[in-house]
Symmetry: C2
Subunit: 335 residues, 2 copies
């Protein structure tokens, strides 16, 4: 059987939630990844040292059997330097949400006033804390990310020493930005390497393919594939896996989020093999991230096998992307 | 109380379905409209004289208490002239669907071969039968209608004496086409005068706002409003009201269709009043259609009152658009 082994795979953008959901889903990520950047958009958001430490403890308690490193993040506010110094050892990045742009982001940034943000961002530079950004305006849904490019340009040019990660990019405009500023990086999800808006509302309406940022146009998908498949040195895999219970998805007001954590590596193998680029997957799914973030996960290898794998219809209360569909790659030991 | 009376309101694009659904929803349209162009996309589609006559009888049986005229349509195929002569007295128009483009359209047209279509379309010209068209390609969901413009141009220029109705238009490209060919007309729904894609997937995902053609961009909405509010002489109201049971909408593969039949006139009053164009509503909702189609409904007046109206959460098994929301216009006698 054909196999493909990945070393220390990393998910650089993950929602682990809390409580029972955390307990149900964290082991699914820990099984196949060495670590993950954990998003802070709980209710209330993770914004203090106590929050950070306690959330990390709850995550570790949920994954007792596997080596797994949760790289913690703080919800961006205009923090002072003293506070950032006190939390720097406990976090890997700070995540900025424009206010109200996605699930539990109500307390985010409502205007990008560079002078107001300067003390925080300069302290982040000195403490070597990257800024992860959900880059969408509140404009028309298909334009939100492209419209946000001017804010990325403002941040990147105003703070050239700040490491800025454009999270879960979905457009050719964001791809083009990568080569324009040295300090701009990006994560790309697996679902944005597979879906366009056609897969959300082009046939029947598919709530389990519905996420923010929404999947865009075919030419955007092509642009994302071009940098992911080449493992462009500034892009990293980040699943943005975002579980919601089935009844919150299949309802009259469906929550945004695609659940891919337990199937992400399998789908990535399928995509990269399809384009004859399996050799680049290691960089995309781990090495680029290690270099960009300067992180060194403990040794862990995950072997995938080329055999039929039927994606489960549910993981606990959550319906994954492509539920019930058959794909060609599986993780060793997982049926 | 402010009132507004409409004479012989007409819905020039309506899905009445069949069976129990027909019995439940037909009275809701018959209460407020004088008549409606009834779509033929049943399973199997309405495509014979017997189908037509029997379906009309079932519709009339479902609306015993109101004056209501179902203007019947046939599902487009390349019919011969003799057949069309035999059915001409029983129908008002023929509806063309590209194959597979929407609910129950599998038997539609798969290629627009003008020479193959010529005998049918020339017979329709001689028999004065308008051609109603669902104008979408099978391209990317946001481009399907704009891409179809070349087919409208081909049809309109090849058959300048054929009356062609661009059904439920949603784009500025279709609006621009109205003044380009004398024989192109259009229907516009009420939901496409209110929604953009933002109302479908811009916040939470809203299955009850999901339809084909999908609601488009803000500039498309503006273009539709411009011709509807002025009651452009070539545009008519057609609701495209398309009921699906609640469990088919709030599911993992949600059917396309917005149910507006019982609230359409109320919403139209609200929109036209908001733009200070109530005086144009009569043309949009009846007079233009009477002139374009050459139909003369019996006298019927429907009076709307300016008072709070809370849209019901359900009509039998069907959730309407804006369910539970409060609007400012109601039909006299309907709470």
């Amino acid at each position: 059987m054909k196999t493909h082994t990945l070393l220390m795979p990393l998910d650089m953008h993950l929602h682990l939630r809390d409580g029972v959901m955390l307990e149900n889903i964290a082991p699914l990520t820990a099984y196949s990844f060495s670590g993950a950047i954990v998003m802070p958009n709980l209710v209330p958001p993770v914004s203090s040292l106590d929050d950070l430490v306690a959330y990390k403890e709850r995550i570790m308690a949920a994954v007792p059997n596997d080596y797994f490193e949760p790289y913690m993040t703080l919800f961006y506010k205009n923090y002072d330097r003293k506070f950032l110094e006190s939390v720097a050892d406990e976090l890997t990045a700070i995540k900025l949400y424009p206010a109200g742009i996605t699930t539990n982001s109500e307390g985010g940034v409502s205007s990008f006033d560079i002078e107001e943000m300067r003390p925080t961002l300069e302290a982040m530079i000195e403490l070597d804390i990257p800024l992860c950004v959900h880059g969408e305006t509140d404009g028309f849904v298909m334009d939100r990310e492209a419209e946000f490019m001017s804010i990325y340009e403002l941040l990147a040019s105003s703070f050239p020493d700040l490491k800025i990660i454009m999270e879960h990019i979905t457009t050719k405009e964001a791809v083009e930005m990568l080569d324009k500023y040295d300090n701009l990086y990006a994560t790309i999800t697996v679902h944005h390497l597979l879906l366009t808006l056609d897969d959300v509302v082009g046939g029947m309406m598919m709530p389990h393919n519905f996420c923010k940022p929404i999947a865009k146009r075919p030419e955007d998908l092509d642009a994302l594939l071009s940098v992911a498949l080449e493992a462009h040195p500034k892009v990293m895999f980040g699943s943005d896996s975002a579980p919601h219970p089935q009844d919150k998805k299949e309802s009259s007001g469906c929550a945004a989020g695609v659940f891919t954590a337990p199937i992400a590596l399998q789908l990535l193998c399928e995509i990269f093999e399809q384009y004859d680029k399996l050799d680049n997957l290691q960089d995309f799914v781990s090495d680029n991230a290690q270099r960009i973030y300067g992180i060194c996960p403990e040794f862990k290898e995950v072997t995938l096998e080329k055999r039929e794998f039927v994606i489960p219809k549910k993981y606990s209360s959550v319906v994954p992307m492509y539920a019930g569909q058959s794909i060609n790659w599986a993780i060793q030991g997982v049926d």
